[in-house]
Amino acid sequence: MTDTQPLLQVKNLTHHFKTNPPLVDLLLRRAPRFIKVLNGIDLHLERGETLGVVGESGCGKSTLARCLVGLYPPQGGEILFDNQNVSHKTRAEQRDYNRRVQMMFQDPYSSLNPRMTVGQVLHEALSVHKMRPEAEIPDRIDELLDLVSLPRDAAGKLPHEFSGGQRQRVAIARALSVEPEILIADELVSALDVSVQAQVVNLLLDLQDRLGLTILFVAHDLRLVRHVSHRVAVIYLGSIVEIGASDSVFSSPVHPYSRALLNAAPSIDPDHKTSIPPLSGELPSPMNIPPGCAFHGRCPHATEICRQEKPLLKKFEGHGEIACHHAATLA
């Protein structure tokens, strides 16, 4: 890891979805209800690193990813790219930002226009951003296909003629066509079979090494996150509860939630039974986030302070940053 300025910095990012209030509510002047998806996310991405993001379903991982590429207009907090605030941008600036910060989506089926051939998809990307003069575009398309290990005749095919893994490669090729610096990969491989997953992950790691990409890797599969990430962030109900070097978070998680989460992943060793009892209770609704530490309802270590005060991320020696009142004792 480098010790220069981080490439991307996220400060206290919040994002709340407003629910559609019924008319009666409007008339009775009831306060609108919000789904509080992101509640103050702080993180940074160093050039060339992979940051893994894990958390339960619905904790806001995808929302974070979408906020980062500007799919959701910023609500609270800041996103700094190369020390520049990326919010309040003009369309041209937004376009340039997107060229440099690209995203790939979970669903290989839906992230490609079913009516455009791979060639057309890449051609469009290259010509809209004027990445190459018109005449050089066909060559560049071939190059890109080579880069993601797709046969060249793939250019003439429609997405439905590919397998899931190949489709994800097409999506990767599309993202790479504009030569971005950051790739946001939201559940890039979740929809794929294990063996295909491995192919795509290999490709991603290889590209990162070759092109010096910075990657935000969101995934369900903890083993995979551990495998690809330099650092890992654990999110619970829209807040980061623990973030740190992949090794340390996985081998010795501190936050009770990280512990439960990481330990719940079943090992493929039949004799390696987990010792930590599963979490009890359900994930609270993001419309109604408990006060204090959002995790206190399910936490075996919760005390009075957890119910009162929201813990902040704090650096712990030998670990990463942890947002827990009892981190010192648990660490």
């Binding site: 997107n98 839906s110 398309i141 003439g156 429609l158």
Partner: protein
């Protein structure tokens, strides 16, 4: 690979699909094909001038001379039915095409941007669909006066809403797919995303609806003709022909039966083609 060869590739797969067509679709295409030919060259196929009175053959039943018989003025029913093809096919197209275009554009934009435009649109739609279609069309025809052109205007004024509603819903459904988001992330302009990416994928049900709507337009146009609000006599139009013939339904059954059959067959053709297109355009995979 060049664009041309890409295009060729694409068309090739389209033809490949054509091979596995349903017999119903082929039947529908055949019906519509014939209808179009008759509509384009009515003078070629019609044995007589559709409007000339023939006092020697008043209300003649079908004979070799007059295959579909003649009406009470001695006009040849076959010729009138054939000439009506051009009116009715034109009706099917003109009464719907502007609705289609407007509806698609409005629906796409509203579905894409949502927000205030969508709310206003929603209210308008609510208000308009609160009227029975025919009631509103008749009211508009009453405002503009009877006649084909006014009928087209009336149908368009009301009809675009249905297209827009469908288009809006489809666009919103397509927006749920990540390729729309991907387009935004790729930094594409809104118009490119709407018209290059979303529209081609969202249009299928609209096109299918268009087919049924063309059949409906013929039915509606005939109904209006029948009520005296659509095509005006002596113009040969199926609804008008039926209206003219209905006085003689017991004595000269061919007058209303023949145009009736023409309507049913043509409508059938449109429906079959609509179903077929739905099949054809459904993306595989």
């Amino acid at each position: 690979m060049t664009d041309a060869s890409l295009a060729r590739k694409k068309r090739f797969s389209f033809f490949k699909r054509l091979q596995g067509l349903q017999p119903g679709f082929i039947a529908g295409l055949t019906i519509l094909g014939f209808s179009l030919i008759l509509a384009t060259f009515p003078a070629f196929f019609a044995p007589y001038d559709p409007n000339v009175f023939d006092f020697t053959a008043l209300q003649s039943p079908p004979t070799a001379l007059h295959l579909f018989g003649t009406d009470n003025l001695g006009r040849d029913t076959l010729s009138r039915v054939i000439w009506a093809y051009s009116v009715n096919m034109q009706m099917a197209f003109l009464a719907t095409i502007f609705s289609l275009i407007t509806g698609v554009l409005v629906g796409a934009v509203v579905g894409y941007y949502r927000g205030v435009a969508d709310i206003i649109f929603g209210r308008c739609v609510d208000a308009i669909i609160t009227f029975p279609f025919l009631v509103l069309v008749i009211a508009v025809v009453a405002v503009l006066g009877p006649g084909l052109i006014n009928m087209y205007i009336a149908i368009t004024l009301v009809g675009w809403v249905y297209y827009a509603r469908l288009m809006r819903a489809e666009i919103m459904a397509q927006m749920a797919n990540d390729y729309a988001s991907a387009g935004k992330v790729m930094g594409y302009s809104d118009s490119r995303i709407i018209f290059r990416h979303l529209l081609p994928n969202a249009i299928t049900p609209v096109i299918v609806y268009w087919m049924t709507d063309m059949a409906l337009a013929i039915l509606l146009g005939s109904s209006l003709g029948y009520l005296g609000l659509g095509a005006q006599p002596p113009e040969a139009e199926w609804g008008v022909l039926i209206a003219e013939g209905r006085n003689f339904i017991t004595t000269a059954w061919w007058l209303s039966l023949m145009p009736g059959i023409a309507i049913v067959i043509t409508g059938f053709g449109f429906s079959l083609v609509g179903d077929g297109i739905a099949d054809l355009l459904r993306p595989r995979g």
